[in-house]
């Protein structure tokens, strides 16, 4: 019928076509994802409010994994933490193209808080909770950028907590980690916490793991190393079975996570032997010894997104030199024990 047809001007008909083409894309979430994954982070956060579908797509954890794999960035700054355990001081060390300001750590200002380890933007710290009658040392993992933290259901009571000259001195004593009854020799169990390490690689997975290493003496002179791994996806600790034979000179107090493994340095060898433990594949838990010479180490640092953070002083110096930071002399560096990478 002639009078029923609505005549549309050319401009509006092409507009309708444009709409339909745009709609066809918008209805296909695969295509939208393909486009969104190419956007920088800032527009992405804004576009969350476009529609429910976009919010869903952008908030998906697989999407963020995909996005961070596509947009790899070299590290932009280092945090240096002084060796002093009490009142740790941070130095923020931005690299040339860093647009970040120094983040705040006020939430760590509580006395009795000590930073244990860090890895790829996650920070693990312990905090003395003295609101209850018996002081409890609680462990947290936090992301300083988003200021969100999660408490790790870990290691409970602190046995020796003394106050000396106005500050806390905490001797870590490990209690709540599951220890088999058969290996528990009465009350004389003496446990010595060696280290807690966060293992987090945003390019591999959104989940992090925490490795806890301690030694316990079953009898008087026989100390054995024990290791437990916490998985954030299930929220549970699991102890690795078996006695680990670790060369004497390996210092388990200082470890770094790098390339899917936690590495410890051996102090005996001049060319520094590293001991690595794969945290992602726990079924074949083995310690693998590496021999890196300095140059190789520095090369690895530069080529890969570094999460190496505890390296020998010459290697660190070289790394810094390669970033144009000659001002940091090695004598300054010696004061620092580990570095945070953000």
């Amino acid at each position: 019928m002639a009078h029923n047809t609505i005549t549309t001007p050319d401009s509006s008909s092409s507009y309708t076509e444009l709409r339909s083409a745009g709609n066809a894309i918008a209805e296909n979430s695969d295509l939208i994802t393909q486009i969104l994954v190419r956007l920088p982070v800032k527009p992405l956060t804004q576009f969350k409010s476009v529609s429910k579908q976009w919010l869903y797509l952008i908030s998906d954890s697989q999407f963020s994994l995909h996005h961070s794999r596509r947009n790899r960035k070299p590290i932009s700054a280092l945090f240096l933490l002084s060796l002093k355990k009490i009142n740790p001081e941070f130095s923020f060390l931005p690299f040339a193209d860093c647009s970040l300001g120094s983040p705040h750590f006020q939430f760590l200002a509580h006395p009795g808080t000590s930073i244990l380890h860090s890895c790829n933007g996650l920070l693990c710290f312990s905090k003395l909770d003295d609101t209850t009658e018996s002081s409890i040392l609680r462990y947290y993992v936090c992301n300083p950028t988003t200021k969100r933290s999660a408490r790790i259901p870990l290691l409970g009571l602190v046995h020796n907590c003394r106050i000396r000259r106005g500050y806390f001195r905490v001797d870590h004593k490990l209690c709540n980690v599951k220890i088999e009854e058969s290996t528990r020799p009465g009350n004389d169990l003496n446990i010595n916490l060696l280290g807690i390490y966060v293992a987090f690689d945003p390019l591999k997975s959104q989940n992090y793991r925490i490795v806890c290493v301690w030694e316990s003496n079953a009898d008087m002179f026989n100390y054995e190393i024990r290791i437990a791994v916490y998985r954030s996806e299930i929220g549970l600790w699991g102890e690795l079975m078996g006695a680990f034979t670790i060369p004497y000179a390996v210092c388990l107090n200082n470890g770094v996570f790098w390339n899917g493994k936690v590495h410890w340095i051996s102090s005996s060898d001049i060319h520094s032997m590293w001991l690595g433990m794969n945290v992602y594949n726990l079924s074949t838990t083995k310690f693998i010894a590496y021999h890196f010479d300095e140059r190789e180490m520095a090369y690895h640092c530069n080529a890969d997104r570094i999460s190496i953070v505890y390296v020998k002083i010459p290697a660190v110096t070289r790394l810094f030199l390669s970033h144009g930071l000659e001002a940091w002399s090695s004598c300054v560096l010696q004061q620092f024990s580990f570095f945070l990478v953000i």
Binding site: S20, A21, A24, A26, I35, R38, P43, F47
Partner: protein, 155 residues
């Protein structure tokens, strides 16, 4: 009929009936066509539904260029890509749909990159108009009505 063609040529027929003779190596850059050829379910003519002659010509142009210039410098190909995708929105969206439908990876990559560059600095309203078919007056009126609703007295 097929004897008149060279052996490794294929005929693609667009949705509006136009036929294109392309070398097989170019045609199989589309994964969908490649699968058809490998499964030997492609007779002389391969129908390409949902894609009209204009768009199909563009896609073939892109694939030919990429096929020829495999040995050429990557920077040349980059400049070609950026010029190729620099089109009006309408053609761009149709191309994306076609590239996705026929599974042409290189083209889809280049196009998505271009759309991402385009929408990077845009406002949320703009995105809604562009992708979700909101019209400007709908947003304005809904805001207007919302404001009236919010401002009214509840007594």
């Amino acid at each position: 009929m097929s004897s008149s063609l060279e052996k490794n040529m294929l005929i693609l027929r667009s949705s509006d009936g136009e036929e294109f003779i392309v070398p097989e190596v170019v045609a199989v850059m589309s994964k969908a066509i490649k699968n058809m050829v490998e499964d030997e379910c492609a007779s002389n003519t391969i129908p390409v539904p949902n894609v009209d002659a204009n768009i199909l010509a563009m896609v073939i142009e892109f694939c030919k260029k990429h096929d020829e210039s495999e040995a050429e410098a990557a920077s040349d190909l980059k400049t070609f890509d950026s010029e190729f995708v620099n089109r009006g929105q309408e053609a761009l969206y149709d191309l994306i749909t076609a590239a996705n439908f026929r599974d042409v990876k290189e083209l889809l990559d280049a196009l998505c990159q271009n759309v991402a560059e385009m929408i990077k600095g845009k406002s949320v309203h703009h995105i809604r108009i562009q992708f979700l078919g909101y019209q400007l007056f709908e947003i304005l009126t809904s805001n207007f009505i919302w404001n009236i609703w919010c401002d009214r007295d509840f007594d």
